[in-house]
Amino acid sequence: MQKKLVMSSSPHLRSPESIQSIMVDVLVALFPVALMAVFLFGYRALVTMVIAMVVAMATEAIILRKGNFFGDGSAAVTGLLLAMTLPPSPPWWVVAMGSVVAIAIGKHVYGGIGSNIFNPALVGRAVLVVSWGSHIAGNVWLKPVPFGFAADAVTQASPLATYGASLGDLFIGTVSGSLGETSALALIIGAIWLYYRGHIDWRIPGGFIGVVFILGLISGGFEMGLYHVLAGGVLLGALFMATDMVTSPVTQSGKIIFGVGCGVVTMLIRLYGALPEGVTFGILLMNGLTPIIDNLTLPKRFGEVKKSA
């Protein structure tokens, strides 16, 4: 009996990991954050997240002309991340517009997954900030009502406008703010999962958060340093946005430079800029520099002795 044998070039083993499994891991990591958002802001948070994800996935399915709605899962991640950067209850069409822009312009204009230069979710958010700013910032921050699934919507100023929230509230998340940014605790739990699964390392978040803390400390002392780290979108940005694989450097030292750059730009905007928050543009700017950072930080080969210049 002569069997038909499969021919292929080695290696003949493959790891079980795929793009889809990574995206599912990210969704799992975002689960505690999403749960916290619903816990604090009620059904409005859930609606915003669902709109963002469904529109993102639909946009991708239309562009790719594929029947598989979930696909590799990256559109769902982009949609959810976009929702995390939005206030609890913007008009539905603003959320939908953000998702369409994120997927169509942030991602597929460049050639789809892997080819985009800028973090798609942040491209979506940036367009919303510039185009419909009044729905995204200003008098839109709902007062968190724990367990108040259908509580009345009452707005209040964000912690980055007042600099008046307690550090404890900022850590737990019982402050006003974007859906995914209020609870440092939930974000850290999610990030630990991503770290455990090997999808992020310490370099980008370390550089980012470290610089924000140091610059905050210089601007107003130790507590102000912590305040800058915990308030606003720094943790969400540093742990989930800046660590986006496609748009951040691949080299080890490049990741530190990238994280530090994100932190510096964020703090320049916060301290001296016209906007209260600088995370979005801090990361987008560094996204643009990623190819250059990679090229300048190529690693030394095994056994190679760096030539002294």
Partner: protein, 442 residues
């Protein structure tokens, strides 16, 4: 967990349970052997027998055509029936000597014990290695006597024996360390003496604690005044790659493009050490070796002593045959071994394993775009940029691939194993290496 290791690498499933610790069993003598005349890196051999000649077990049938080559010997006694090209594990057909087994196993009278190691000179040890056709049995088949002849301006201080056996599934070296520990130490001593090395190290992955114990015992009992250490190494693929092994055992880094000699080290494989000991003690030529016959697609796996030139299909048949869902035949391990189009191919000196994989291992994955996760760079033991080189090669920009260090890749396959986008990175790098080497020859 051992501290001794290198940076990078992967932790695949090891699948050693099929054959781990199974005693070495000699294969049934084949009725005919087909011995290819090219079984080593370097020059092929010319036949020194003719059709109709009677040959004996261990008799030389192939004479090397160059210095970097090793003679080839008959593995059965009987009559030479044909000398013509035949299938070869590396792909293209190669001239081969067909010997019909007379079943007598008459040993060649030229195989006689040598003087004891204490009385042999380095030159005599090299000559014995050369005459008995020793090559590196890990799979690369570099002629041993060449490794034992460093240029005069290089002094070798350490010989490292590779007992890592980091390829999943394979257990041939493991069982040799359990059954033939004394011969391994003896072979290592011969290598050390031939090279004037003052230190010998046997590196073993720490997933084989019984092998570590066995080797430590053998070293304690019969070190013969030689300075020999047994190192337990972190279990991680490719721990047995020579540069990684030297890094793990000695902390030295072999420069890009250089051989271990550049850092005063020579590596040898476990099987080669046993063969060296047999060559000195018995005058035995290299005509058989231990082959791990394994995988989910073989009915009765085992560590089989196989004569050179035995057809793979004969061995598979003796091991109960392939299962119904067997889909892939690999000679060597699953990370670096070669898939075969047919089982009608002879086992050679470099055949460390016959691995048969089933349906679930042969999934064809669509190739997704690179998502720049950088995991291939993290696992690359050479600290290269597999994603950059792979993409350059994909776009046929071989100059760029060369600039990113394609030629330093030794094709361990960690990048392709790891890539979540299922990009065939090492395969692209292989194409680039071929193209770059061809353009440099011009």
């Amino acid at each position: 967990m051992s501290e001794r290791s290198f940076v990078g690498g992967i932790h695949p499933s090891y699948f050693k349970q099929y054959t781990a610790g199974m005693p070495i069993a000699p294969a049934r003598p084949p009725s005919q052997v087909i011995i290819p005349l090219h079984q080593n890196i370097g020059a092929p051999c010319d036949a020194v027998v003719q059709v109709g000649d009677e040959v004996k077990v261990g008799q030389k049938i192939g004479e090397p055509k160059g210095f970097v080559s090793a003679p080839i010997h008959a593995s059965v006694s009987g009559k030479v029936t044909k000398i013509e090209p035949y299938n070869h594990p590396l792909g293209n057909p190669v001239m081969a000597v067909f010997i019909e087994n007379d079943g007598q196993d008459t040993p060649y009278e030229g195989m006689k014990p040598n003087k004891p190691l204490e009385e042999l000179t380095p030159e005599e040890i090299r000559q014995i290695a050369k005459d008995t056709g020793l090559v590196g049995l890990g799979g690369a088949t570099f002629p041993t006597h060449v490794k034992l002849s460093p240029p005069p301006d290089i002094s070798i201080d350490t010989v490292v024996i590779n007992g890592a056996e980091c390829e999943p599934f394979l257990t041939a070296d493991h069982i040799l360390m359990l059954e033939r520990a004394e011969d391994i130490v003896y072979g290592l001593q011969a290598f050390m003496k031939a090279l004037g090395a003052t230190k010998g190290i046997i590196g073993i992955e720490d997933n084989k604690p019984d092998a570590v114990g066995s080797m430590q015992k053998a070293v304690a009992e019969s070190s013969g005044g030689y300075d020999i250490e047994v190192h337990a190494l972190h279990t991680k693929y490719p721990q047995g790659a020579e540069k990684m092994l030297i890094k793990a055992t000695l902390g030295r880094e072999v420069p890009p493009g250089a051989l271990p000699m550049a850092v005063n080290v020579v590596n040898q494989n476990i099987g080669t050490a046993v063969a060296m000991a047999e060559a000195i003690k018995l005058g035995r030529t290299l005509y058989e070796r231990v082959v791990t016959v394994t995988g989910p697609g073989i009915k009765e796996p085992g560590n089989i002593l196989v004569r050179n030139g035995t057809l793979v299909k004969d061995i598979i048949e003796q091991c109960g045959g392939m299962t119904d869902d067997a889909r892939k035949l690999i000679l060597g391990g699953p990370m670096m071994g070669m898939a075969q189009a047919s089982d009608d191919v002879p086992c050679i000196k470099g055949t460390s394993g016959i691995l048969i994989l089933t349906e679930e291992f042969v999934t064809e994955y669509p190739i997704d775009p690179c998502i720049k996760c950088g995991k291939c760079m993290e696992v690359c033991p050479m600290n290269l940029l597999p994603n950059f080189i792979g993409s350059a090669s994909e776009k046929e920009n071989m100059e760029l691939a060369d600039k990113y260090g394609a030629m330093d890749c030794f094709e361990c396959g960690c990048c392709t194993y790891t890539c979540p986008a299922k990009r065939p990175l090492v395969q692209w790098i292989r194409i680039a290496k071929g193209a770059i080497a061809a353009s440099k020859r011009k």
